[in-house]
Symmetry: C2
Subunit: 380 residues, 2 copies
């Protein structure tokens, strides 16, 4: 329990926070494209990124922020003052926020295969003049890191103060510390392990197969409904039973339909999936979930031996997990932390007691617990 004084301190800290205001996405084009791990070249390559705060003359204050599955480069602020919602991590980015833009220059780059501007399955395949769709090449977390490296180098940034990410963004942050150990001073990995577990693969398989079944039998209309169902499953894997009880319990809707929606939780899932469909794409979803499955740092950097792989790390690392996260349970992160510590690396694991599941790092009421953890790590 917090004392009244501590409560007041937290309240003060939150009260003094500012906003990043209106931001403009930046576009880059690499005409020569990118050589992917699968051996294919994706060219031309466009990349979209956003930045918040001011780059120090010596470029020593860069935080590379990595977005999760359904996120994009738009992490904070608004594109237009009338936007209903700010970027996906506005809670944590801004003046006096955890990623304090008075001090840090935060950059977030849209990942390959994500539908938010970087070349994706929705982009035009120059060979056909039509969208890539399933002709887009397979991508992996390593490719995501490579794109980020290319964008940073284009901006003249050779080293980052910190790389930060949650979920698949956390995978990216972790891989940065492995792939470019000398370029990362600190790595903050939130709710992401060193490798995807078979529960994640199983859930992703069902989600992909649902989209592919829709596509097979119902074309784009079917694929879209498949994406909605995939999102519903993904969505509940980010939540917890407690979260569903506290939001919906067993409440029913006023006009029930036996085969569609009887319960509030069903109505909520359908509504959220409808809004997701408006902003996402089934083909992108297929590629990104497969990249997630294939993430295995031990395989990529240690020939199957995670300990050998982790020996590469030079950054100071902080792992954050949430007690109720059943997609990437704390045990997965703990395994990595224990190996790092046994190797004499600077690694710490903070397990936050939160009933809100995997998505806790996006939930406002977890902020009083998570913000000081991030601040302490970034400012030490």
């Amino acid at each position: 329990m917090r004392t009244q004084q501590e409560h007041a301190l937290v309240a003060d800290a939150l009260a003094s926070e500012g906003e990043v205001g209106v931001v403009t996405p930046q576009h880059l084009c690499f005409p020569e494209g990118i050589e992917l791990v699968c051996g294919q070249r994706l060219a031309p390559l466009e990349a979209v990124y956003e930045t918040y705060g001011t780059l120090a003359p010596d470029k020593s204050n860069v935080i590379l922020l990595c977005h999760a599955l359904s996120g994009g480069a738009h992490a904070a602020g608004k594109h237009h003052p009338n936007d209903r919602k700010p970027g996906w991590w506005d809670l944590y980015i801004g003046p006096n926020k955890a990623l304090d833009t008075n001090r840090f220059f935060v950059i977030c780059i849209n990942a390959l295969a994500s539908p938010y501007g970087t070349t994706s399955p929705l982009s035009i395949d120059p060979r056909t003049g039509k969208p890539y769709h399933l002709n887009y090449p397979p991508v992996c977390v390593t490719d995501w890191v490579e794109l980020e490296r290319m964008v940073l180098e284009h901006l003249g940034i050779q080293q980052v103060y910190a790389v930060v990410g949650g979920s698949t963004g956390g995978m990216r942050a972790f891989e940065w510390a492995m792939r470019y150990p000398e370029r990362v001073r600190k790595a903050l990995v939130i709710a992401a392990p060193a490798r995807s577990n078979p529960m994640v693969i199983a859930l992703n398989h069902i989600q992909r197969q649902t989209i592919l079944m829709g596509l097979k039998h119902g074309g784009i209309e079917g694929a879209n409904r498949g994406l909605m169902l995939a999102r519903m499953l993904g969505h509940i894997s980010y939540l917890s039973e407690y979260a569903l009880w506290s939001k919906f319990g067993r409440d029913t809707v006023p006009e029930t339909d036996f085969w569609s929606v009887t319960y509030q939780v069903e109505s909520y899932l359908e509504y959220k999936a409808t809004t997701f469909l408006q902003r996402f794409d089934p083909f992108c979803y297929l590629y990104i979930t497969r990249a997630m499955d294939n993430f295995d740092l031990g395989a990529t950097y240690g020939e199957g031996d995670l300990r050998r792989a982790l020996a590469r790390v030079q950054a100071e690392m902080l792992f954050v997990s949430f007690t109720s996260d059943w997609l990437f349970p704390p045990a997965g992160q703990q395994e990595a932390v224990e190996i790092l510590q046994s190797l004499g690396k600077r690694a710490e694991h903070v397990i936050i007691d939160s009933p809100w599941g995997h998505d806790s790092f996006l939930v406002e009421r977890v902020k009083p617990q998570l913000k000081p953890v991030i601040q302490r790590f970034l400012e030490s």
Copy 2:
């Protein structure tokens, strides 16, 4: 930890077990049918059941066993000596097994809407001469209990020594103790709460909508693929991350396909779903999962007040949960047990430490823990 002597006792107990041998399903017809809770009458009504052991002359040794979602009346033994597999709870039914057929007369009745013989969406609708499919009436757990009561009364059985069930079978066992308190001496509820939680409803919603999407876009072929995907999701909700790690880890298959099967866990899910499709039906699945969602004893017997509902119970009750069950976590059962105890009822909760998830009651290696718990309860 068990002592060596205790290990020897367990080994002895298991070694002396016998088999029920070859069994024959029994058929019953109720020409007048059944009046369902929804107000519709389902007629004619056929019911299939199996029995194991010998009915005592005074009928005092009846155990009503209730099967789960994908089970049926065939709980033990084989229909033919060459059958590859015995009934679904053969581990626990037979001479000197937990449901000891030297002493008890065990009866298991196939539930309404299940495809194993009792009138279901696959049966011929006498009004059309075609299978009911979506013209089958909505059924609920209460209807399942009523069918069981009708079969028992047909056999002249007015009271049962015990009612036993796991998962949706546990819901039925629980409802028996509420609906017919004077007819049940003991009720054993395994991995089932007093009401379905919103996580269950959410998972079932996705499963149903996947089947319905398949049906809409791909007819019966699509519905069948939808059923496979629904089963995959159901299946992983009965397991645990630990179970998936220990069975598959991140192992890949020899011939990988980027969009279908790369990992062993995917291959396993596809294989299990294929065998499920051979023995189950998408329409039945729709009806049974909705019955599961709608299960809420507080609503049915207490006008929304579970305490008021549980005041009806007269039976001695045992609830068994498994630590790693994330579909019906122990907390759900604990809530009911605490209310029952506070009402002065004879109710106990045994939480078995098992890493195998919801399906632990079907897993052979949990038997050394579960068998003595059941025996102690039935033989006290």
